[in-house]
Symmetry: C2
Amino acid sequence: MSTVPDAIPAMRPPQLGSDILPETPAYDLIELLFFAYRDFVSDPDRILDEYGFGRAHHRVLHFVDRQPGLTIAELLDILRITKQSLNRVLKELIEKDFIESRTGTSDRRQRLLFATEQGHDLAVKLANLQTRRIMRALADLDLASKDHVSRYLLRLIDPDDRAHVERLVFGAKKS
Amino acid sequence: MSTVPDAIPAMRPPQLGSDILPETPAYDLIELLFFAYRDFVSDPDRILDEYGFGRAHHRVLHFVDRQPGLTIAELLDILRITKQSLNRVLKELIEKDFIESRTGTSDRRQRLLFATEQGHDLAVKLANLQTRRIMRALADLDLASKDHVSRYLLRLIDPDDRAHVERLVFGAKKS
DNA sequence: GAGATATGTCAACAAGGCTGACTTAAAATG
DNA sequence: CATTTTAAGTCAGCCTTGTTGACATATCTC
Protein backbone atom coordinates (compact mmCIF):
# COMPACT_ATOMS: atom_id res chain seq x y z
CA MET A 1 0.00 0.00 0.00
CA SER A 2 1.57 3.25 -1.17
CA THR A 3 1.63 6.37 0.94
CA VAL A 4 1.73 8.55 -2.16
CA PRO A 5 -1.66 9.98 -2.98
CA ASP A 6 -2.52 9.14 -6.57
CA ALA A 7 -4.11 12.45 -7.42
CA ILE A 8 -1.84 15.44 -6.91
CA PRO A 9 -3.32 18.81 -7.86
CA ALA A 10 -1.93 19.93 -11.20
CA MET A 11 -0.45 23.30 -10.28
CA ARG A 12 1.68 22.39 -7.26
CA PRO A 13 4.01 25.31 -6.53
CA PRO A 14 7.74 24.70 -7.05
CA GLN A 15 8.81 25.54 -3.49
CA LEU A 16 10.99 23.27 -1.39
CA GLY A 17 8.83 22.82 1.67
CA SER A 18 5.17 22.51 2.31
CA ASP A 19 4.49 26.25 2.31
CA ILE A 20 4.84 29.01 -0.19
CA LEU A 21 7.87 31.25 0.23
CA PRO A 22 8.08 34.90 -0.69
CA GLU A 23 10.73 35.89 -3.27
CA THR A 24 12.94 37.35 -0.56
CA PRO A 25 13.58 35.88 2.89
CA ALA A 26 12.06 37.77 5.81
CA TYR A 27 15.40 39.32 6.70
CA ASP A 28 13.76 42.00 8.80
CA LEU A 29 12.02 39.66 11.23
CA ILE A 30 14.95 37.24 11.27
CA GLU A 31 17.40 39.93 12.26
CA LEU A 32 15.12 41.83 14.61
CA LEU A 33 14.56 38.65 16.60
CA PHE A 34 18.30 38.15 16.80
CA PHE A 35 19.03 41.65 18.07
CA ALA A 36 16.02 41.79 20.37
CA TYR A 37 16.89 38.49 21.99
CA ARG A 38 20.55 39.47 22.28
CA ASP A 39 19.71 42.57 24.30
CA PHE A 40 16.80 41.02 26.17
CA VAL A 41 18.81 38.24 27.76
CA SER A 42 21.76 40.50 28.48
CA ASP A 43 19.89 42.54 31.07
CA PRO A 44 20.11 39.99 33.87
CA ASP A 45 23.76 39.17 33.25
CA ARG A 46 25.27 41.77 35.54
CA ILE A 47 23.15 40.74 38.48
CA LEU A 48 23.64 37.02 37.91
CA ASP A 49 27.36 37.64 37.90
CA GLU A 50 27.22 39.02 41.42
CA TYR A 51 25.81 35.71 42.60
CA GLY A 52 28.24 33.63 40.56
CA PHE A 53 25.44 32.43 38.33
CA GLY A 54 25.07 32.34 34.55
CA ARG A 55 22.21 32.26 32.09
CA ALA A 56 21.70 28.56 32.62
CA HIS A 57 21.01 29.18 36.30
CA HIS A 58 18.63 31.96 35.40
CA ARG A 59 16.52 29.74 33.18
CA VAL A 60 16.28 27.04 35.82
CA LEU A 61 15.44 29.45 38.62
CA HIS A 62 12.89 31.24 36.48
CA PHE A 63 10.83 28.20 35.63
CA VAL A 64 11.05 26.70 39.11
CA ASP A 65 9.90 29.98 40.61
CA ARG A 66 7.06 30.17 38.14
CA GLN A 67 5.91 26.60 38.69
CA PRO A 68 6.52 25.60 42.28
CA GLY A 69 6.67 21.85 42.61
CA LEU A 70 8.06 21.31 39.12
CA THR A 71 9.68 17.91 38.68
CA ILE A 72 13.06 17.23 37.10
CA ALA A 73 11.42 15.60 34.09
CA GLU A 74 9.11 18.56 33.50
CA LEU A 75 12.02 20.95 33.78
CA LEU A 76 14.06 18.92 31.31
CA ASP A 77 11.18 19.05 28.90
CA ILE A 78 10.98 22.83 29.13
CA LEU A 79 14.69 23.50 28.81
CA ARG A 80 15.45 20.75 26.30
CA ILE A 81 18.86 19.99 27.73
CA THR A 82 20.26 16.78 29.17
CA LYS A 83 19.81 15.62 32.73
CA GLN A 84 23.55 16.02 33.26
CA SER A 85 23.60 19.63 32.09
CA LEU A 86 20.63 20.47 34.23
CA ASN A 87 22.09 18.76 37.25
CA ARG A 88 25.26 20.77 37.16
CA VAL A 89 23.49 24.11 37.52
CA LEU A 90 20.65 22.81 39.66
CA LYS A 91 23.14 21.42 42.18
CA GLU A 92 24.68 24.86 42.54
CA LEU A 93 21.33 26.53 42.97
CA ILE A 94 20.43 24.05 45.70
CA GLU A 95 23.80 24.33 47.46
CA LYS A 96 23.58 28.11 47.50
CA ASP A 97 20.03 27.84 48.81
CA PHE A 98 18.11 29.38 45.93
CA ILE A 99 16.17 26.22 45.17
CA GLU A 100 14.90 23.49 47.43
CA SER A 101 14.30 19.91 46.34
CA ARG A 102 11.64 17.89 48.14
CA THR A 103 10.77 14.25 47.69
CA GLY A 104 7.49 13.80 45.84
CA THR A 105 4.48 12.83 47.92
CA SER A 106 2.42 10.71 45.58
CA ASP A 107 5.53 9.39 43.81
CA ARG A 108 8.53 9.30 46.08
CA ARG A 109 10.93 8.87 43.18
CA GLN A 110 10.21 12.38 41.99
CA ARG A 111 11.90 15.51 43.23
CA LEU A 112 9.66 18.54 43.51
CA LEU A 113 11.52 21.80 43.07
CA PHE A 114 10.72 25.03 44.86
CA ALA A 115 12.40 28.40 44.93
CA THR A 116 13.50 29.43 48.42
CA GLU A 117 12.69 32.95 49.61
CA GLN A 118 16.11 34.08 48.45
CA GLY A 119 15.55 32.30 45.13
CA HIS A 120 12.16 33.86 44.62
CA ASP A 121 13.53 37.32 45.34
CA LEU A 122 16.23 36.90 42.72
CA ALA A 123 13.83 35.46 40.17
CA VAL A 124 11.48 38.40 40.63
CA LYS A 125 14.32 40.90 40.47
CA LEU A 126 15.43 39.50 37.12
CA ALA A 127 11.89 39.25 35.77
CA ASN A 128 11.29 42.87 36.72
CA LEU A 129 14.38 43.89 34.82
CA GLN A 130 13.11 42.21 31.70
CA THR A 131 9.59 43.46 32.28
CA ARG A 132 10.89 47.00 32.30
CA ARG A 133 12.37 46.47 28.85
CA ILE A 134 9.14 44.91 27.62
CA MET A 135 7.04 47.78 28.95
CA ARG A 136 9.31 50.28 27.24
CA ALA A 137 8.83 48.35 24.01
CA LEU A 138 5.05 48.21 24.36
CA ALA A 139 4.69 51.88 25.25
CA ASP A 140 3.05 53.83 22.46
CA LEU A 141 1.96 50.71 20.64
CA ASP A 142 -1.79 50.05 20.18
CA LEU A 143 -3.68 48.17 22.78
CA ALA A 144 -4.02 45.37 20.26
CA SER A 145 -0.29 45.16 19.70
CA LYS A 146 0.53 43.11 22.74
CA ASP A 147 -1.92 40.53 21.57
CA HIS A 148 -0.47 40.46 18.08
CA VAL A 149 2.99 40.06 19.48
CA SER A 150 2.09 37.17 21.78
CA ARG A 151 0.19 35.46 19.03
CA TYR A 152 3.14 35.80 16.69
CA LEU A 153 5.64 34.49 19.22
CA LEU A 154 3.36 31.61 20.15
CA ARG A 155 3.03 30.63 16.52
CA LEU A 156 6.80 30.66 16.05
CA ILE A 157 6.91 27.76 18.49
CA ASP A 158 6.82 24.19 17.16
CA PRO A 159 3.15 23.24 16.73
CA ASP A 160 3.58 20.14 18.92
CA ASP A 161 4.69 22.27 21.83
CA ARG A 162 2.31 25.13 21.48
CA ALA A 163 -0.42 23.74 23.71
CA HIS A 164 2.10 22.89 26.37
CA VAL A 165 3.66 26.35 26.29
CA GLU A 166 0.25 27.99 26.28
CA ARG A 167 -0.71 26.12 29.41
CA LEU A 168 2.56 27.03 31.06
CA VAL A 169 2.54 30.68 30.04
CA PHE A 170 -1.11 31.62 30.35
CA GLY A 171 -1.89 29.18 33.14
CA ALA A 172 -4.29 26.65 31.61
CA LYS A 173 -6.87 29.11 30.33
CA LYS A 174 -6.66 31.62 27.47
CA SER A 175 -9.07 32.47 24.71
CA MET B 1 27.80 55.36 60.11
CA SER B 2 24.48 54.24 58.75
CA THR B 3 23.93 53.53 55.07
CA VAL B 4 20.32 54.63 55.37
CA PRO B 5 19.82 58.04 53.75
CA ASP B 6 18.27 60.46 56.18
CA ALA B 7 16.10 62.42 53.78
CA ILE B 8 14.06 60.44 51.28
CA PRO B 9 11.60 62.43 49.15
CA ALA B 10 8.16 61.87 50.59
CA MET B 11 6.26 60.41 47.63
CA ARG B 12 8.99 58.47 45.82
CA PRO B 13 7.40 55.55 44.06
CA PRO B 14 8.45 52.19 45.44
CA GLN B 15 9.80 50.87 42.13
CA LEU B 16 13.40 49.87 41.68
CA GLY B 17 14.26 51.50 38.38
CA SER B 18 13.41 54.60 36.48
CA ASP B 19 10.10 53.30 35.04
CA ILE B 20 6.88 52.21 36.58
CA LEU B 21 6.41 48.48 36.78
CA PRO B 22 3.14 46.59 36.69
CA GLU B 23 2.25 44.57 39.78
CA THR B 24 3.19 41.33 38.07
CA PRO B 25 6.14 40.74 35.75
CA ALA B 26 5.28 40.18 32.09
CA TYR B 27 5.79 36.44 32.40
CA ASP B 28 3.89 35.76 29.20
CA LEU B 29 6.11 37.82 26.92
CA ILE B 30 9.27 36.79 28.77
CA GLU B 31 8.53 33.11 28.32
CA LEU B 32 7.12 33.32 24.81
CA LEU B 33 10.31 35.00 23.65
CA PHE B 34 12.33 32.23 25.25
CA PHE B 35 10.37 29.43 23.59
CA ALA B 36 10.02 31.19 20.25
CA TYR B 37 13.73 31.89 20.03
CA ARG B 38 14.58 28.36 21.12
CA ASP B 39 12.61 26.84 18.25
CA PHE B 40 13.47 29.56 15.76
CA VAL B 41 17.23 29.06 15.95
CA SER B 42 16.93 25.29 16.05
CA ASP B 43 15.64 25.04 12.48
CA PRO B 44 19.00 25.52 10.77
CA ASP B 45 20.86 23.18 13.11
CA ARG B 46 20.42 19.99 11.14
CA ILE B 47 21.67 21.55 7.93
CA LEU B 48 24.58 23.30 9.60
CA ASP B 49 25.59 19.98 11.09
CA GLU B 50 25.99 18.48 7.63
CA TYR B 51 28.61 21.11 6.87
CA GLY B 52 30.34 20.79 10.21
CA PHE B 53 29.17 24.24 11.23
CA GLY B 54 27.39 25.51 14.32
CA ARG B 55 25.21 28.45 15.21
CA ALA B 56 28.21 30.74 15.51
CA HIS B 57 29.09 30.05 11.89
CA HIS B 58 25.50 30.70 10.90
CA ARG B 59 25.44 34.13 12.46
CA VAL B 60 28.67 35.13 10.79
CA LEU B 61 27.66 33.81 7.39
CA HIS B 62 24.24 35.43 7.63
CA PHE B 63 25.48 38.94 8.27
CA VAL B 64 28.31 38.72 5.76
CA ASP B 65 25.88 37.51 3.11
CA ARG B 66 23.50 40.31 3.93
CA GLN B 67 26.14 43.01 3.88
CA PRO B 68 28.78 42.18 1.33
CA GLY B 69 32.00 44.00 2.08
CA LEU B 70 31.44 44.03 5.83
CA THR B 71 34.63 44.66 7.79
CA ILE B 72 35.82 42.70 10.81
CA ALA B 73 35.15 45.65 13.09
CA GLU B 74 31.58 46.04 11.84
CA LEU B 75 30.93 42.35 12.26
CA LEU B 76 32.27 42.40 15.79
CA ASP B 77 29.95 45.27 16.57
CA ILE B 78 26.95 43.33 15.30
CA LEU B 79 27.75 40.05 17.03
CA ARG B 80 29.16 41.54 20.23
CA ILE B 81 31.76 38.87 20.67
CA THR B 82 35.54 39.14 20.88
CA LYS B 83 37.88 39.21 17.93
CA GLN B 84 39.31 35.87 19.04
CA SER B 85 35.91 34.16 19.16
CA LEU B 86 34.99 35.56 15.78
CA ASN B 87 38.29 34.56 14.27
CA ARG B 88 37.89 30.94 15.21
CA VAL B 89 34.68 30.49 13.25
CA LEU B 90 35.53 32.95 10.52
CA LYS B 91 38.75 31.10 9.78
CA GLU B 92 36.79 27.89 9.25
CA LEU B 93 34.29 29.61 6.98
CA ILE B 94 37.12 30.99 4.88
CA GLU B 95 39.04 27.69 4.78
CA LYS B 96 35.94 25.83 3.66
CA ASP B 97 35.31 28.50 1.04
CA PHE B 98 32.03 29.92 2.28
CA ILE B 99 33.44 33.36 2.90
CA GLU B 100 36.12 35.31 1.12
CA SER B 101 38.28 37.99 2.71
CA ARG B 102 39.63 40.78 0.51
CA THR B 103 41.98 43.55 1.45
CA GLY B 104 40.22 46.89 1.72
CA THR B 105 40.67 49.34 -1.13
CA SER B 106 40.51 52.73 0.55
CA ASP B 107 42.02 51.37 3.77
CA ARG B 108 44.32 48.46 3.14
CA ARG B 109 44.35 47.46 6.83
CA GLN B 110 40.74 46.42 6.60
CA ARG B 111 39.48 43.06 5.45
CA LEU B 112 36.26 43.15 3.47
CA LEU B 113 34.20 40.01 3.84
CA PHE B 114 32.08 38.48 1.09
CA ALA B 115 30.08 35.28 0.90
CA THR B 116 31.23 32.98 -1.90
CA GLU B 117 28.64 31.45 -4.20
CA GLN B 118 28.58 28.37 -1.99
CA GLY B 119 28.32 30.59 1.08
CA HIS B 120 25.49 32.61 -0.38
CA ASP B 121 23.57 29.46 -1.27
CA LEU B 122 23.83 28.14 2.26
CA ALA B 123 22.89 31.49 3.78
CA VAL B 124 19.79 31.67 1.61
CA LYS B 125 18.85 28.08 2.34
CA LEU B 126 18.94 28.77 6.07
CA ALA B 127 17.13 32.07 5.75
CA ASN B 128 14.39 30.36 3.75
CA LEU B 129 13.98 27.79 6.47
CA GLN B 130 13.45 30.48 9.05
CA THR B 131 11.27 32.48 6.72
CA ARG B 132 8.96 29.52 6.37
CA ARG B 133 8.48 29.46 10.12
CA ILE B 134 7.89 33.21 10.16
CA MET B 135 5.30 33.00 7.38
CA ARG B 136 3.48 30.26 9.23
CA ALA B 137 3.43 32.47 12.31
CA LEU B 138 2.15 35.49 10.40
CA ALA B 139 -0.55 33.58 8.56
CA ASP B 140 -4.02 34.54 9.74
CA LEU B 141 -2.75 37.56 11.63
CA ASP B 142 -3.96 41.02 10.55
CA LEU B 143 -2.08 42.91 7.92
CA ALA B 144 -1.05 45.33 10.64
CA SER B 145 0.39 42.61 12.83
CA LYS B 146 3.69 42.30 11.08
CA ASP B 147 4.24 45.96 11.68
CA HIS B 148 3.35 45.69 15.33
CA VAL B 149 5.70 42.79 15.73
CA SER B 150 8.67 44.51 14.08
CA ARG B 151 8.05 47.65 16.04
CA TYR B 152 7.95 45.67 19.28
CA LEU B 153 11.14 43.77 18.50
CA LEU B 154 12.91 46.92 17.42
CA ARG B 155 11.97 48.62 20.66
CA LEU B 156 13.30 45.71 22.71
CA ILE B 157 16.74 46.59 21.37
CA ASP B 158 18.97 48.92 23.38
CA PRO B 159 18.05 52.50 22.38
CA ASP B 160 21.66 53.29 21.47
CA ASP B 161 21.68 50.52 18.90
CA ARG B 162 18.26 50.97 17.43
CA ALA B 163 19.25 53.36 14.68
CA HIS B 164 22.12 51.13 13.71
CA VAL B 165 19.93 48.02 13.57
CA GLU B 166 17.24 49.88 11.69
CA ARG B 167 19.73 50.88 9.03
CA LEU B 168 21.03 47.35 8.81
CA VAL B 169 17.65 45.65 8.76
CA PHE B 170 15.58 47.98 6.66
CA GLY B 171 18.41 49.23 4.49
CA ALA B 172 18.88 52.88 5.45
CA LYS B 173 15.31 54.01 4.85
CA LYS B 174 12.16 53.23 6.82
CA SER B 175 9.34 55.48 7.99
C1' DG C 1 9.80 -10.59 42.42
C1' DA C 2 10.80 -8.54 37.82
C1' DG C 3 10.94 -4.85 35.09
C1' DA C 4 10.17 0.00 34.22
C1' DT C 5 10.80 4.69 35.72
C1' DA C 6 12.78 9.03 38.05
C1' DT C 7 16.67 10.68 39.48
C1' DG C 8 21.69 11.08 40.41
C1' DT C 9 26.50 10.65 39.14
C1' DC C 10 31.16 9.81 36.90
C1' DA C 11 34.08 10.74 33.05
C1' DA C 12 35.25 12.67 28.87
C1' DC C 13 34.52 15.78 25.26
C1' DA C 14 32.95 19.91 22.16
C1' DA C 15 31.27 24.51 21.02
C1' DG C 16 31.67 28.93 21.75
C1' DG C 17 32.29 32.42 24.83
C1' DC C 18 36.21 35.02 27.63
C1' DT C 19 40.99 37.45 29.12
C1' DG C 20 45.69 38.89 28.36
C1' DA C 21 49.69 39.48 25.75
C1' DC C 22 51.85 40.19 21.58
C1' DT C 23 52.62 40.86 16.25
C1' DT C 24 52.11 42.99 11.80
C1' DA C 25 50.81 46.21 8.40
C1' DA C 26 48.93 50.39 7.20
C1' DA C 27 47.06 54.87 8.18
C1' DA C 28 47.12 59.16 10.55
C1' DT C 29 49.39 62.72 12.84
C1' DG C 30 52.75 65.88 14.57
C1' DC D 1 59.49 61.47 8.19
C1' DA D 2 59.25 59.53 12.74
C1' DT D 3 55.81 58.36 15.90
C1' DT D 4 51.56 56.91 17.28
C1' DT D 5 47.25 54.88 16.46
C1' DT D 6 44.36 51.63 14.31
C1' DA D 7 42.68 47.10 12.02
C1' DA D 8 43.43 42.71 12.07
C1' DG D 9 45.62 38.23 13.33
C1' DT D 10 47.47 34.94 16.70
C1' DC D 11 48.90 32.19 20.87
C1' DA D 12 47.73 30.25 25.18
C1' DG D 13 44.67 29.19 28.63
C1' DC D 14 40.30 29.36 30.97
C1' DC D 15 35.02 29.14 31.80
C1' DT D 16 30.21 27.97 30.90
C1' DT D 17 27.12 25.14 29.11
C1' DG D 18 25.98 21.94 26.10
C1' DT D 19 26.86 16.74 24.58
C1' DT D 20 27.42 11.18 24.96
C1' DG D 21 27.81 6.85 27.37
C1' DA D 22 27.78 4.01 31.28
C1' DC D 23 26.13 2.90 35.53
C1' DA D 24 23.79 3.28 40.50
C1' DT D 25 19.78 3.78 43.46
C1' DA D 26 15.23 4.10 44.98
C1' DT D 27 10.61 3.48 44.03
C1' DC D 28 6.62 2.31 41.49
C1' DT D 29 3.94 -0.97 38.63
C1' DC D 30 2.62 -5.33 37.03
